[in-house]
Amino acid sequence: MPDDARKLYRAERDVGPAPDAPSTLTVHIDGQPRTAVAGETLLQVARRAGCDVPTLCHDERLQPTGACRMCLVESSDSRRLVPSCRHPVQDGLHVQTASARVLRHRQALLALYAADQPEQIVPGSELEVAMRRHGVAEGVPSVTSARAGRPEDQNRFIQFQPDRCILCARCTRYCDEVEAVAAIAVGHRGPETTIVTADMRGLLDTTCELCGGCVDTCPTGALVEKKAAPRQMELASLPTVRTTCGYCGVGCQMDLSVDRDKGQIVRVQSPPPGTTTNDGNLCVKGRFATGYVGHPDRLTVPLLRDRATGQLVPSTWDEALDRAHELLVDAKARHGAHALAFISSSRATNEENYLAQKLARAAFGTNNCHQCAAT
């Protein structure tokens, strides 16, 4: 062990953790002084001040690229408009986020994006929301882009619709920087530029882990959950329910879009980055493996073993619960409480586990209560 490294480490620890508070500065956003921290961007400060600055290629989790130009603002350190998502704060800057010049730019740019999209923009997408909130300049004729697609992809979860892609590269940066498997990239040239995989293979034949983070981050709906794709235009109008994933112990929060009439989960999304522990991310199971919930194999009625035939046959709840209770009481009467075992589930809720041990202890007088995979 290098001795000086050790000393250094000790010295560092003796003075306690490094102070986490960097120096603060002042920035004037739309005339109001705001405190900021060195290293922050204009966008971060403006949003904290409540300004409505639209963005398309920006995602808090990713390195900014400044590709979409949607977030341009006026800043006293530049004669041209600057992309606020990657423009660092400086002490004393004066920033205009809603000047006439900025608004003109915004509406013109949105018009260009709109012209390049299929006729109906996906409701609820960041692009559509930006258009609704900031308005679209008139007089830009629509264009047909020659963006190349990928051949029919066998994967069942993720669909790419090249005509909706604005090449913001959020999906590819997500795949590189967050999921870190680099399954997709921006490829080809000129008007053919699109999102590619190695040799244009289907996602199943790439390093893709089917996390679907690319779908969640896409601002236009060019990437969409395959199963929900036929209903893409109504997805935003479906009610959502915030719940906790039922798979592993990370406890990701997720928003289920629900079709109340059919009693179905239509798609699963992560809450926005920065709001919950999972920071906008989900894994393949949480996002895509909810098919078992409405699966035809589900049990829908209680079953009782018929004493004559030995078969399991449907019964009413009362019969089934009475029989269950009676069997446990009998076994206890004949063999004592220690001959009973209650196996609860590490997948059931806290409330259910509580009632399971209460049933073992309070009702049947035994501590024989445990669950599977008690890590």
């Binding site: 039922g246 522990t277 076994a331 009632l355 202890r361 309070a362 009702a363 024989n368 008690a374």
Partner: protein, 532 residues
């Protein structure tokens, strides 16, 4: 976990052991990758070459079941080179001399002979860990699913206490819980030794507390843990079982013997979503609601209690487990929640009753979570914010106990007849016994069935080829699976996932369990393999 998940990204060093994090806890792995991209050092110890191992500064590919040897040698290096935090040890721990003595002759060279990891790597790992300030340890079933699982955990906590890497952000000792609510199930008292909030059943005061809440005496008998239950079942000492949401005939070790034992039970009652292997044997099968069909709370690995909310109705007559259990309690003349009519029962009220008997959750309620989002316990009062990392300013129990540990080999090791070491685990695309995930075609596309990973050397030795079929057998049984020839495993070891009921890995595994936790040794047994 002693620390919160979002602290991972600020770590300066991650020591990941016995955890295939990218596959079993993908979201935590994302945070780990994020830390590495920000410059954190990464040490991975795993018998297999895992995906995260490819990112590591040091990948310690130890022989399965030799964790204690590795960790003892790391402690040895730390003490031999004076890298410990003596001030922390003196003020906050007990039993230092015993541990110093127990690791005294665990030189890296000795550990190399047992673990197969070069001594220099062991020493390097120890130095790296000891000399980095925000250094966190992360582990899962690769540490606990052994007969010496508790020893493994003691070794890890020794490392933490010797270096004082506790009670600060991004450090600590962090078990990543396997199933979604392992943490919560234990918190809620579904264990033979603890009442809710880890209050010991053998503590009369704790029993008195819940006896008063329930209006029923809490029994004082020594209950069985799962492993003991399975032994009692095999021995014919169990006569009746209620099984909620688990397919024990697929998930438990050495299942061959269990099939018969279960069929001889006087009573088997199963509550589940599907007609599982276990449910097929039951006298009564009660159809349950899935997570998206009910209300309640789950507690994640970082002790955060979060809401589960009903989004869709259960199919047909299926009901949430809590309603089923409440109906059974009622039939035993026990009020599911004291003073609440069963018709007025809600998960919120159930939580309230549970929390009323323990300081750990007393400040948590459904209403608060609704307003504030998930809360991390300990949270003793309604105005307490919850606790993100534990043991700030010294270990919670007063002094951290250092525990000397002796290396004990796994119960079953390879020999002439069973020449290979078999380890089992999980993949990204399936979950446990795949009751849920095998019903999602998009996942089956990636992993349609069971497979065994075999090192190329062993493949040629035993005449196996990639994509072919093989029979894997142990003293307990045999299954037929696909062959994946892969460098991910070491020569002399094979690995297979435990997800598939068609090829039940647990026909092979050994039911020896850890004495303390009852967790079975899924990670090591002796096996043979032959082409099919």
């Amino acid at each position: 976990m002693t620390n919160a998940i979002t602290e991972i990204r600020d770590a300066e060093l991650l020591f990941v052991i016995g955890s295939n994090t990218t596959e079993a806890h993908p979201i935590i792995a994302m945070e780990m990758k994020r830390a590495v991209l920000r410059g954190a050092k990464l040490i991975v110890a795993d018998p297999r070459q895992t995906w995260l191992g490819g990112w590591a500064d040091l990948h310690l590919q130890l022989w399965p079941g030799t964790d204690v040897a590795l960790l003892s040698a790391m402690a040895h290096v730390i003490l031999a080179e004076g890298l410990q935090d003596q001030t922390y040890i003196d003020t906050h721990t007990e039993n230092f001399e015993a541990v110093r003595a127990s690791v005294a002759d665990w030189t890296p060279a000795r550990a190399e002979a047992i673990t197969g990891i070069p001594a220099a790597d062991i020493a390097a790992a120890a130095r790296m860990y000891a000399t980095t300030r925000r250094a966190g340890i992360y582990y899962t079933l690769g540490i606990t699913e052994h007969t010496h699982g508790t020893d493994n955990v003691f070794c890890l906590s020794n490392l933490v206490l010797l270096t004082g890497h506790l009670g600060q952000r991004s450090a600590g000792l962090n078990p990543l819980r396997g199933q979604n609510n392992v943490q919560g199930a234990n918190d809620s008292g579904a264990t033979p030794v603890f009442l809710p909030g880890y209050q010991r059943v053998d503590d009369p005061a704790a029993r008195a507390r819940y006896s008063a809440i329930w209006g029923r005496e809490v029994p004082a008998d020594k209950g069985m843990n799962l492993n003991q239950m399975m032994h009692a079942l095999r021995d014919g000492d169990l006569k009746a079982m209620l099984v909620v949401g688990e397919d024990i005939l697929v998930s438990e070790p050495d299942v061959a013997g269990l099939d018969r034992a279960v069929s001889e039970l006087d009573a088997l009652i199963v509550v589940d979503l599907f007609l599982t292997e276990t449910a097929k044997q039951a006298d009564v099968v009660l159809p349950a609601a899935a997570f998206a069909e009910k209300d309640g709370t789950f507690t994640n690995s970082e002790r955060r209690v979060q809401r589960v909310r009903q989004a869709v109705p259960p199919p047909g007559q299926a009901r949430p487990d809590w309603q089923i259990l409440a109906a059974l309690l009622e039939r035993s003349d026990v009020e599911p929640v004291r003073g609440v009519a069963t018709s007025a029962l809600t998960p919120a009220l159930i939580y309230q009753e549970m929390a009323s008997g323990t300081d750990k959750f007393a400040g948590i309620s459904h209403a608060r979570i609704e307003n504030e989002g998930g809360l991390q316990w300990p949270c003793p009062t309604a105005d307490h914010k919850g606790t993100d990392f534990l043991h700030q300013g010294g270990p919670m129990r007063g002094k951290g106990l250092l525990v000397p540990v002796n290396y004990r080999p796994s119960v079953e090791r390879p020999d002439a007849d069973w020449p290979l070491c078999l380890s089992t685990g999980r993949t990204l695309y399936h979950y446990n016994v795949a009751t849920q995930t095998k019903r999602e075609q998009g996942l089956l596309d990636r992993h349609p069935g069971c497979f065994v990973e075999v090192h190329p050397d062993d493949a040629s030795r035993y005449g196996l080829h990639d994509g072919g079929r093989a029979e894997v057998s142990t003293r307990r049984g045999a299954i037929e699976v696909d062959v994946h020839v892969s460098q991910r495993v070491q020569t002399g070891m094979i690995w297979l996932p435990m997800h598939f009921s068609e090829a039940r890995a647990n026909l092979l595994t050994i039911d020896a369990g850890d004495e303390v936790t009852g967790t079975a040794e899924y990670k090591v047994c002796a096996a043979a393999i032959a082409p099919r």
